[in-house]
């Protein structure tokens, strides 16, 4: 059975490690291969100039990152709200973050901080479902199956269906394990994420089933391929459409196996040590680096699941030593790296979780779930950098004015990527389900 080392498991508030569950139930669905409707959709959604973002890297801090301890400091609030971290200046005059984000503080002109995101789903799996699909979960929060979006497709699946693959890489990839709300829903397996079921920070990192088993000689590999091709020729003349579809997937699989580009993209070991160090030798850091390699090779939507943010108990030591520094390093290195490679304009980077955390520090020196306010950070992909959008009140407890909702976020990503957010696909019952359920483009971001 699969048992992969995926870094330190996170205990969430229910006392059960959901990562543990993930490790047992590791899922590796796969990205779709629909022919791109690229040109039509890009033209339709983005007007004559075309869309900015060719791909999106979605860093998901699962568990709920504390916005006030990171991007939305409240230095004037009482200590039980403010917490132990100090506000520091960034290189954008007037913009402050906490002192736990020293690297990001030096480059705030490269990204935009949106402080007025909020919704009112306080559950982990339900909130994850909401953020990934734009639809309220119809199940109770808890140990839900993975993926938990049984009906509504995740946004990554919508990207897969709308834009299709470019090159040999699948259009929608999850790492280092499936995202809980990241399934294809009614779109079907074709649009499920291709899941890299392995941790790129491990020395023996490799992609599952991408290479033939160890020890097979070149002679055997060559022979196997010839036998299969021979069988295929013999049986092809009487294949029906379903069999032909499977043949197509075999061809895609062979392409992926044979693709130098894919192999190079997955081969994080070939990255210079200096670059790997810059991202941080952490799971999140190396996932961010691998994500960059994947979008360079043509992947459209890379979802990185970074667990461990459900900090109910004695949160500040772990935030200070493990969580925030890793995120600080990964995000700043990713944005800088993309910028230096000239890819930032066409790559949208988003970092967020399913919710923020309570303003008041609780009796166990932790912070609890708080979906009323969260900060989202955006970089590249046609977003206007160097801004702060929106604000929360003096205790970081509520957004000032109406919050930017999940569907505003998804609509914005959709428009940036040249996907018509109002395009509908028919559910199995024949009901048209639009990609994005309402919302409006976030004012000032684009």
């Amino acid at each position: 059975m699969l048992k992969l080392s995926l870094g330190s498991p996170s205990q969430n508030c229910r006392g059960i490690s959901r990562r543990h569950a993930l490790r047992l139930g590791s899922c590796g669905l796969i990205g779709g291969m629909t022919l791109p409707r690229l040109i039509e959709l890009q033209a339709k959604a983005a007007g004559p100039k075309g869309p900015k973002a060719k791909s999106c890297i979605f860093l998901f801090l699962e568990g709920g990152p504390p916005h006030q301890d990171m991007w939305d400091p409240k230095p004037d609030a009482p200590a039980e709200i403010r917490g132990p971290f100090q506000a520091i200046r960034t290189n954008v005059p007037g913009t402050f973050v906490t002192d736990q984000l020293p690297l990001c503080a030096t480059m705030a002109d490269k990204y935009t901080i949106l402080r007025n995101h909020g919704h009112n789903d306080n559950g982990h799996s339900t909130g994850y479902h909401y953020v990934m699909t734009g639809r309220r979960a119809s199940f109770a929060d808890g140990d839900n199956p993975i993926p938990n979006n049984e009906f509504y497709p995740s946004f990554g699946s919508a990207v897969s269906r709308s834009l299709g693959a470019q090159g040999s890489l699948p259009p929608y990839i999850n790492l280092p394990h499936p995202m809980q709300g990241g399934g294809p829903g009614f779109y079907g397996a074709e649009h499920a994420p291709f899941v890299i079921e392995a941790d790129p920070s491990q020395p023996d990192f490799d992609v599952k089933d991408l290479q033939p088993p160890m020890g097979l000689s070149a002679a055997r590999l060559g022979l196997r391929k010839r036998l299969l091709a021979g069988l295929d020729t013999l049986e092809r003349q009487h294949q029906q459409a379903t069999g032909q579809a499977m043949t197509t997937y075999y061809e895609k699989a062979y392409q992926l196996v044979a693709s130098q580009a894919a192999r190079r993209a997955f081969d994080i070991h070939s990255e210079p040590e200096k670059v790997r160090d810059a991202y941080g030798r952490t799971q999140l850091g190396q996932c961010a680096l691998l994500a960059r390699r994947l979008v360079e090779a043509g992947c459209r939507f890379v979802g990185v699941d970074a667990p461990g943010w459900d900090v109910h108990f004695n949160c500040f030591p772990s935030l200070k030593t493990d969580l925030i520094p890793y995120a600080d390093q990964a995000f700043s290195a990713l944005v800088t790296d993309l910028d230096q490679r000239g890819l930032l304009d066409e790559t949208l980077v988003i970092m967020m979780g399913e919710m923020g955390r309570t303003p008041r520090i609780n009796a166990q020196a932790g912070r609890d779930h708080w979906s009323m306010a969260q900060t989202i950070v955006f970089a590249g992909g046609g977003t206007i950098p160097g801004q702060v959008i929106g604000a929360t009140d003096k205790h970081a407890s509520a957004t000032i004015g109406a919050p930017v909702g999940v569907n505003d976020l998804l609509r914005t990503i959709s428009v940036l990527m040249g996907i018509d957010p109002d395009r509908s696909y028919l559910s199995p019952l024949g009901r048209p389900v639009p990609i994005v359920d309402g919302g409006q483009v976030i004012p000032g971001l684009i």
């Binding site: 049986e235 499977m246 019952l429 639009p434």
Partner: protein, 815 residues
């Protein structure tokens, strides 16, 4: 229905040829016009004509768009190129119609243009909102509306829509003093910015009707006003003409739709209703009801919808110039299937060979590959009735109960997380017993419906742990046992059926009074006490419990309301129950339901072969719901035994069973097949050695293989939940997975045994073929595989031959 009533005939017995959509078709004899006279009484009224003649093949041929049409005098009415007549001025006129040498005419009368009947919001404005898609789900019809303006989806709640337009937002949407400047109209015609762009053309018939409605005071219905008109009679149905039509490739056919009110009056609403094809690749329909046939033979149903009423027109596209050789008939199924194929001009494929039949029927009946020995003995058996005997043998195998239990655990939603492992086991044992003992389906369905008691004891009680709300139970039971999907009617009138919110609530009334009681040992018992009628979600009035399409149920003498439902379900006259299970069984064996999706039986979703489905449902009743006997009839039919190889005339056919439809193996079946072919035993996480995948009731048992091959999550009662879509992850796994490699090279496995044996390479290859594909290789295949033995050592060659066979489409599919 009085379609084609009283056609006016002028010229008879003339034969002319005319060009229709590029093809040359002759019509002979009479020219028919429908309707026979036209009376228009409103400025925005319209009347669709259909003009037709008889073709040489005695088909009705629509010549409306090739006819020359002229109104005399022309100032009274206009007629467009599609045969839509509109009024211009009060008066009488004649519509002169000519098609080649054939001529006819009909009378037109236009009255009351200066004093028309007042417009009814309910009957005339709602269709405009629907046709212009204002109230669609992507627009103002979605639950929260759009930009502050909310309409009910498809206009099912006319009163709410009226309030939304006339009263909401302080009445800013209508301007009685200046109708044309009403926000509603200005927005709809995009004269001021509108997110939905131009939904209505300025000065169109629909816009003028809206303007007049506002000018008349924007009333809900015309009896609100002092008027000389009688109250608006209720619309009781809609009619479409023609009701069915045979078209040839690329032909077109205009539809004509009328409402029928309670006084029997008809009014043309062709330009106001909605059309939808269930098979647009065969016949496409446009917004005005013009059907365009493609070149793919087959059948399509055109759904027509107006104000909650639905009807259909069935289009058949035969393949021409085919001489069909009817294969022999084993039973009634063949008679009806061949009859249908003959009409369509599709030749059935020949009968499959013995090896294919053996593998097919084994995978279909018991979810298990034949062993090498079984394959050898079947192939060498000279008996002529060996297929029939095989079917009988398979139905008595243990795996039959295992496999069908697995299938029903999926659709009974035996999700071990939701109903607890004890509940799943209780359900699994009960189902296993039902199948092993071949209990009658109506009997165990009744038990499923009316179960009470400990949900952890063998039985189906945990079904109600999932369906813990009356309406959820009602819609799941309806979909599962009746094949009727009513969940749409939870929130709004079903868009393509007659089911309303009242029907939904009435059905839910049977499932009230149920509760789960905690037992001293911590387990739960399902108990039923009393029950009550439920309120209508909008009006709040109590709706008496009733079965679909039935009267208020009588609950005297019962304590459990479900018993009344169960009695109705299994009575002979029930229109759904036998049909639903017959269609479900058919779909399992034939790869596709006669009605598809299999649990969406409704008038507007007709069976591809209605006579066959009716016969199967009757057969099921005659057999007293003996599922094994029914299965025997299906499998012994010649139709089931058709080859999956297509012929030129049936390669496009997906719905008429002219050839066997290939099916991907289900995740569990495939895993068992791999293990059996490799001759290894797989240990499932937490299960005793020796269990096979189809026996594992725990749908959460972690398995990468099950995930990627689409094991269902058991969240719905729909078989559609099981995904059989191929993916690259599947291909990668079969090509490269170390797990598969270990099975192929297992020291007690088949490859090792064969490579250590004294068998000649050709004999090794033969056994590998028999173990995977249940057949002997042909000479080309044997030659191909012998390359392995010349190039590699014997062990590697054996493994790689087996590997390539497991990666062949022939292995991955049931064909």
């Amino acid at each position: 229905m009085n379609r084609y009533s009283r056609p006016y005939i002028l010229n008879v017995c003339t034969v002319i040829a005319l060009t229709i959509s590029g093809g040359l078709v002759s019509i002979a004899g009479e020219l028919h016009v429908s309707p026979s006279t036209i009376a228009l009484e409103q400025p925005e009224a319209s009347q669709q004509l259909i003009i037709w003649g008889s073709g040489s093949d005695n088909r009705r041929i629509d010549v409306t768009r090739t006819a020359t049409l002229r109104v005399e005098p022309p100032h009274v009415a206009s007629v467009d190129e599609r045969g839509l007549v509109r009024p211009l001025a009060n008066g009488s006129a004649t519509l002169l119609i000519s098609v080649g040498e054939l001529r006819t005419s009909i009378a037109i009368s236009v009255t009351r243009l200066d004093n028309p009947k007042k417009i009814s919001f309910r009957h005339e404005i709602i269709p405009i909102l629907t046709k212009s898609r204002c109230n669609s789900g992507g627009c103002h019809g979605k639950a929260e509306g759009q930009n502050g303006f909310k309409l009910s989806i498809f206009g099912f709640d006319a009163q709410a829509d009226f309030d939304s337009i006339v009263s909401a937002s302080r009445g800013r949407r209508v301007a009685l003093a200046s109708p044309i400047n009403s926000l509603l109209i200005q927005k709809a015609t995009a004269l001021i910015p509108h997110g939905g762009a131009e939904a209505l053309l300025p000065d169109s018939q629909r816009e003028r009707r809206l303007v007049r409605w506002v000018a008349e005071g924007a009333h809900y219905q015309s009896e609100d006003i002092q008027s000389q008109d009688a109250p608006v009679a209720e619309i009781i149905s809609i009619e479409v003409e023609p009701h069915e039509q045979v078209l040839l490739a690329a032909e077109t056919q205009q539809l004509r739709v009328s409402t029928v009110n309670s006084l029997g009056q008809r009014q043309c609403v062709t330009s106001e209703c909605e059309f939808e094809s269930n098979a647009a690749s065969i016949a496409h329909v446009d917004a005005r009801g013009l059907i365009q046939a493609s070149s793919i033979p087959g059948e399509a149903a055109i759904l027509v919808r107006h104000l909650g009423h639905v009807t259909t027109c069935r289009i058949t596209l035969p393949r021409l110039g085919q001489t069909i050789e009817r294969p022999i008939e084993h039973n009634f199924i063949d008679t009806l299937a061949w009859a249908k194929l003959q009409v369509l001009g599709i030749q059935p494929s020949p009968i499959c060979d013995d090896a294919t039949f053996l593998r097919r029927v084994s995978l279909d009946v018991i979810g298990t590959l034949p062993t090498v020995d079984q394959a050898k003995s079947f192939l060498n058996d000279p008996a002529t009735n060996k297929r029939q005997r095989l079917i009988d043998d398979l139905l008595e195998r243990n795996e039959y109960a295992d496999y069908w239990t697995m299938k029903w655990l999926d659709i009974l939603r035996a999700d071990a997380l939701t109903i607890s492992p004890q509940g799943a086991v209780a359900m699994q044992r009960w189902l296993h017993r039902c199948f092993a003992e071949n209990r009658a389906y109506d009997d165990w369905s009744s038990e499923l419906l009316t179960v009470q008691g400990n949900t952890s004891a063998e039985g189906p009680g945990s079904f109600y742990k999932v369906l813990n709300k009356p309406d959820e139970a009602a819609r799941s039971v309806s979909q599962l046992l009746l094949g009727v999907r009513i969940e749409c009617a939870q929130c709004h009138h079903h868009p393509s059926e007659r089911w309303s919110q009242s029907d939904y609530v009435a059905l839910a009334g049977f499932f009230t009074g149920l509760s789960l009681k905690k037992l001293p040992n911590g387990e739960q018992a399902l108990i039923s006490r009393g029950g009550k009628d439920l309120p209508h979600p909008r009006s709040g009035e109590l709706v008496p419990a009733s079965v679909l399409g039935g009267k208020a149920a009588d609950f005297s003498n019962v304590t459990d309301r479900r018993q009344v439902f169960a009695a109705w379900l299994t009575e002979k006259q029930n229109p759904f129950f036998a049909k639903a299970i017959a269609n479900r069984m058919w779909a399992h064996y034939f790869g596709r339901g006669l009605i598809e999706p299999i649990d969406d039986i409704r008038e507007t979703n007709p069976a591809t072969n209605p006579a066959l489905l009716t016969a199967l449902a009757n057969h099921m009743r005659d057999l007293d719901y003996d599922l094994k006997a029914f299965t025997r009839s299906l499998l012994n039919s010649r139709v089931y035994q058709s080859s999956s190889r297509t012929l030129p005339s049936n390669a496009d056919d997906e719905q008429n069973f002219s050839h066997y439809l290939q099916k991907p193996l289900k995740a569990e079946v495939l895993l068992d097949a791999i293990n059996q072919s490799a001759d290894v035993v797989e240990d499932f996480n937490g299960w005793p050695t020796g269990y096979r995948a189809i026996q594992v009731w725990d749908n959460h048992m972690p398995s990468y293989f099950f995930r990627i091959f689409g094991r269902p999550v058991r969240a719905t009662v729909c078989e559609c939940e099981r995904s059989d879509e191929p993916s690259i992850a599947q291909a990668l796994h079969l090509l490269n997975a170390p797990e598969l490699f270990q099975k192929l090279s297992h020291r007690h496995g088949r490859s090792r045994r064969l490579s250590n044996s004294n068998l000649a390479p050709t004999e090794v290859i033969d056994e590998l073929y028999l173990s995977t594909l249940s057949r002997m290789p042909n000479s080309a295949e044997r030659d191909l595989m012998l390359h392995a033995f010349t190039e590699l050592d014997r062990r590697a060659a054996t493994e790689d031959v087996l590997w390539s066979l497991m990666n062949s489409k022939e292995f991955l599919f049931n064909h």
